[in-house]
């Protein structure tokens, strides 16, 4: 990846990320870090400050966050880590760096309107629990949203 740093990413780092003083509050409070020891938002922030944004965008860490926003709450410096991770994902996606699993998920949404497939097993369990039958989503509206959010282009550029 040889691209220059996107301008809004640079602004984000200069205005927010630079305040990170590596206290570890984010990692200490992170449920993902508890389950996946190599997931470390603090190190991600340090890498951004030190100019290693390409490594961060092309790595898999940013996709592990569950966006529970606990790090956002506890950060004493107001870095807003979870919001930054969303931005990083957007940048990665624009640069064609989104992982295939993620793109498959987008395709799933594009074709059905749902994030998880409506399998026979699901339908059976719903019936047993007395839940109503699932109506089909309005796929054309979902498709429109996908156009507007550039997801279509992303999928075409990098087929999973």
């Amino acid at each position: 990846m040889n691209e220059e740093m996107p301008e809004d990413l640079e602004v984000l780092i200069k205005e927010k990320v630079v305040h990170c003083f590596q206290c570890g509050s984010c990692v200490g409070s992170c449920p993902t870090a508890r389950a996946i020891p190599e997931y470390n938002p603090r190190r991600m922030m340090e890498e951004l400050i030190l100019g290693r944004w390409r490594e961060v965008l092309s790595g898999r860490m940013i996709w592990l966050c569950t966006l529970c926003h606990t790090c956002y709450e506890v950060c004493p410096q107001g870095v807003g880590i979870s919001h930054i991770i969303v931005e990083l994902r957007n940048h990665a996606a624009r640069l064609g760096l989104a992982p295939p699993e993620y793109l498959n998920n987008v395709r799933q949404v594009a074709s059905t309107g749902w994030t998880s497939p409506l399998t026979g097993a699901v339908q059976r369990i719903r019936k047993e629990l007395g839940l109503p039958e699932v109506k089909m989503a309005r796929v054309e509206e979902v498709g429109r949203l996908i156009e507007l959010t550039e997801l279509r282009r992303m999928m075409e550029e990098k087929p999973g």
Binding site: C23, G24, S25, G28, P76
Partner: protein, 787 residues
Amino acid sequence: MDDGPRIGVWVCECGGNIGGVVDVEEVVERFRGYVAEVSKETFLCSKPAIDGIRDAVIKQGLEGVILACCTPKMHLETFMRSLEEAGLNRAYIEVVNIREQCSWVHMADPAGATQKTIDLIRGAVERVRCSTPLEPLRMKVIPEVLVIGGGVAGITASLRLAEFGMKVHLVEKRPSIGGHMIQFPKVFPTLDCSQCILTPKMASVSKNPNINLITYAEVSEISGVPGDYTVKVTLKPRGVDLEKCTGCGECSPVCPVEVPNEYDESLGSRKAIYVPFPQSVPPAYTVDFGSCILCGKCLEVCAPDAIILDDRPKEIELRVGAIIIATGYELYDPMNLSNYGYGKYPNVVTGLEMERILDVNGPGMGQLLVPKTQRPIKSVGYILCAGSRDPENGKPYCSKVCCLYALKQAQMLRDRGVEVWLHYIDIRAPGRRYEEFYRATQEKGAMFVKGKVTEVLPYSEKLLVRGEDMMLNIMVENLYDLVVLCPPLVTSDDTLKLAKGLRVPVDEDGFILERHPKLDPLATKRDGVFAAGVVTGPKDIQTTTSEAEGAAMKAVNFLSKERLIEPNKAVIYASLCDGCGACIEVCPESAITLRDGRAQINELLCSGCGACIPSCPKEAMDQQGLSESQLKAQIRGILEPSEAEIKIIAFVEGEVAYTAVDLAGLARIGYPSSFRIIPLPSMSRLKLSHILYAFALGADGVMLLEAPEHEGPYGRAHAISEKRAEEYRLELEDHGIDSVRLWFSRIYIPDWRKLERVFKVFHSTIEGEGPLDPETRAFLRNRLGLT
């Protein structure tokens, strides 16, 4: 020559520094006959030259002296002293800066520099012709000091003042002096016993005849002026006669009321009649009327009959010349940090509570026990930066002492075999013997985990502390018997109330603002009010006592002689004042009040910034030493007879901006000779009419060089001037003058290089516009009633 004072002019050649550029002979010739005496000197600052001027003043009966030489920042005081001895009043002595403002900056333009020199000297001559004598106000000071706060800062300051022979009134709100320091069993980095070193000092305070110790009392009102304050002190009802109580302690055991003891941070208890701790000073008991049930049992056992159960608050009045604020700190309330469980789990305590737990005379009486549950403490986890370095959830600053006291407590715990873990972001131990103290703590086996704790959770009888170990890059989940939070030291409501009463500004965190953070850290922004210790920000005991000593000496200095107050004050012509109050709104020093429907200036509070004068719609105000007539005479003298092609008056703030202009001269930066500088305390002194007057009498441009807001002696006034300049610009347009002819800039001392560009740009703007047309000038002259 007119009938004004007989004036002598001396022009200095400064070797070749001035004479090499300015035609000094020509200058002297121009003033011959215009003033009573004019001559030149090679070095005006030499002793023979100064003596010569003195002799001339005496022999020829001169009443005014103009010295054209280097910047007044160099020798003005020397000249003043010498000429005042010869009988001249300081209002009649003017230094004209022809080196930094002429020869050094117009080297390539000797003719322009000479013309400018002549104009500037003429301005000074005309100004002196309008001078009136100035006498500094003399004020007797009250040679007594009020020290507020009886902690280690207040104790140290009081003792030092008393040692000097100064009368001290030490006011403490609690029943005993000693402050927080008396709560600590040991102090870092020496680990010596805090009570052993402080108790003798407390005893000295009570015995010193120069110290009037007033405990269990609060300052309720302060009025008056620096050097003579009237202070009202409210004595809380103590219920015990200090004179009669022998401190025998018979009363306390019979008292049926038991309440939490403040001295033990409420971990222990006391009776409703109590001494906070055995070494209390004064040693007398106190009745806590908040919890006393008035059963009278104590009365029965008090042999000296010292108890007064119907005691009432009393008010006393003190008169002091100076005040030292030493009201210390409180701890940030850790209840705000909900993830740490303070107040929810009995085994989460603050560092201050831990001091008491560690004290052999603390609530555990030497045993290390968890409060309430009384479980023995075998392992302790410290959470540093619990609310400090945390602008989101606490305070943005580093509280400075927490690392060190945590290290101290860790050593004390390790000495008793307790497991200690410190969770930190950074260990900060700069200070004498502090890094060594950190090493010693490591050697005693304390464990250090880098990474801020995010959560404290109950885990059977213990606590689970969760955080990152950033060094190992793993999650830590440790179990401790006790968790100690280290919250930041914060200012107190009492300090804020006091600051408000004294009109002493505080910073964004509520700490008392120093007069200058580097160069005058013990003075506040108010004359005669000093501060020591944590009231100006978190600090250790070493620094606190140094500050207390320093503040005491500053108070002594302040009160050692009668105060000479600069006679540069604003004045009001009472007959013209209609009491509209516009000046009161503007005055940055709150020095103006309305009395009997007229504005009245407190000369002791007035700083002389002049900001009020333009605000008066009745033109009822003026300033001593910088009167309307002096200012106008100077403008007229500089401009009217001048033969220069383009003339620009630059009003320059007299301290910061003026020094920057001097520095530009020192660096020999070249700029056009069209600028003629008139120093002012602040640009807020300027009226629109001064600017119109300058244009009417020949100025083609007017420049205002203001200091940055809050810089320099009249800093607060500088905030006002920029907006006024904006208004003046609009007014100029209404008078047919293009507003580009008025320039406003703020100049900071290090900005002096920028001045070259500022001067050049404005000069070429005015050159481009050309001289102001004669019709506009004639119109202005007519408007201003000039002939």
